[in-house]
Symmetry: C2
């Protein structure tokens, strides 16, 4: 069972799964909910990461989802399942990394839970807010829109910076769609075009130093934003135009005329990272 098929099966009953965050109305704002698991030997190896690095990234991934919706992160809960090797000192380091990032983005840690487990597992839920009806989504890209990414791809940093300021800026600019690149451009853009019921024609790709085109397309965890803007809108500084939204077969992505297959990083299916990010 792949993550895609599992999510597709669940999406039938859980209509809000499928975007980066769920959007719900509450009072005079919308609330955004997202949750992300970080699992030892799936997402990291303990010998290769400091406790603070693990804590930082556990929160950063959920913040990136909030960024992709143009929201402000507000509150987070942290559930931590601890294996025998995780000392009190390790847990303190984990929170140090997590809290430093939380403070930078004004996110308050409001609760948590602990348990034992054979491997370390962190689940971080973030609840954010966004003005009513203004959350960025992945299902509103329109033919004629231009497609952008927020930075070079293929060499995601472990301690990446969630693009929260950019997300807010894109909301103000009226971006027609947005998501974060967690699973690789090929898979994530496929999802965006499926949700928006459009095709995408790419003609260039900004690559991180040392990254191959293959890595730029298929390697996950860049955590840059992928977004679309009407052709008339001037993009934010630093955005890279990579192609355009077209009519045509729903979900189809091409690169200079060649079909791009959605071979991105599926966390459910994938093995422990063979090539951990050291940047």
């Amino acid at each position: 069972m792949t993550e895609l098929s599992l999510v597709a099966a669940l999406a039938k009953r859980l209509p809000r799964i499928g975007d980066d965050c769920a959007i719900v109305r509450h009072g005079d704002e919308d609330l955004l909910f997202t949750t992300d698991l970080l699992v030892e030997d799936v997402h990291f190896r303990r010998t290769e990461r400091t406790a603070a690095d693990v804590g930082y990234r556990a929160l950063a991934r959920s913040l990136s989802d909030i960024a992709a919706m143009g929201g402000d992160p507000r509150w987070a809960t942290v559930a931590l399942a601890l294996p025998p090797w995780a000392t009190e000192r390790w847990v303190a380091g984990f929170y140090r990394g997590l809290l430093s990032l939380a403070a930078r983005h004004k996110t308050e840690i409001v609760g948590g839970d602990f348990s034992r487990a054979p491997v370390l597992i962190a689940d971080v839920m973030v609840c954010g807010t966004v003005p009513t009806g203004q959350a960025l989504r992945r299902d509103r890209a329109r033919p004629g829109d231009l497609i952008y990414v927020s930075g070079p791809l293929g060499r995601g940093k472990w301690r990446f910076v969630p693009r929260l300021a950019l997300g807010r800026q894109l909301r103000a600019l009226g971006a027609t769609s947005c998501m974060d690149l967690s699973d690789g451009l090929s898979l994530d853009l496929h999802r965006l075009t499926l949700a928006s019921r459009v095709s995408a024609e790419l003609n260039t790709l900004p690559l991180a130093r040392g990254a191959s085109l293959e890595e730029g397309f298929h390697r996950g965890e860049d955590y840059e934003l992928l977004f679309t803007l009407p052709a008339s809108v001037k993009p934010p500084r630093g955005a890279h135009a990579v192609g355009k939204v077209t009519r045509g077969k729903v979900g189809r992505v091409t690169y200079n005329g060649v079909l791009v297959t959605p071979d991105g990083h599926d966390h459910f299916r994938s093995q422990p990272q063979p090539d951990p990010r050291t940047a």
Copy 2:
């Protein structure tokens, strides 16, 4: 490291950990946040529980926290780490159990995440609402209040019914404190008296059929509500008066004059349940 010491250490920086839920103001209501881990071989053995039973309980524990605050559960996220034995059929069963309970309590599942792991781990976050400033807390019990539990103790059912209706009723009655009995009366009442800076004198305990006094005091996971009311307030139907709040050494609990030690169920420290609930 025990859960108590870990939470105590974290509570220094995370002021809102320590109640059943975190309370935050948003718009014209307060939001309640709680998250609970359910871990294979810590909280259940897969040979002894159906998938639907595991899904039911994963949500029920978080709903019980919302009940203890007098709130209404509204939205939930479900993070699921799946070991190789967990088939698509198992996951469907898990969601069937979880969604049946969610529907009964009008809780919308708004998001989730999946990963692989060596054992099954579910983390369920529930966000609820409560009228501003009216959440029940554990730190407001006053000397002279009477102490109640909502049902007989010592034989918690696996598929317990979260006491949401009672929680709302207690809020309307002006209960001075409330929490859910997840870790055993001895430990939970110790926490309540610590938070409220009072003592407690118990003189009776309603025991479930077949439960010993020892189990009534120390066995966790009854998920009844423990609460205090001013002596002038008529308790809700079905409540059992068990004693009274007194001045005296903070955190001290006695039963007919004998000191009760806080030896409840600590999920972090404890071994897999030697005596799983079959009720």
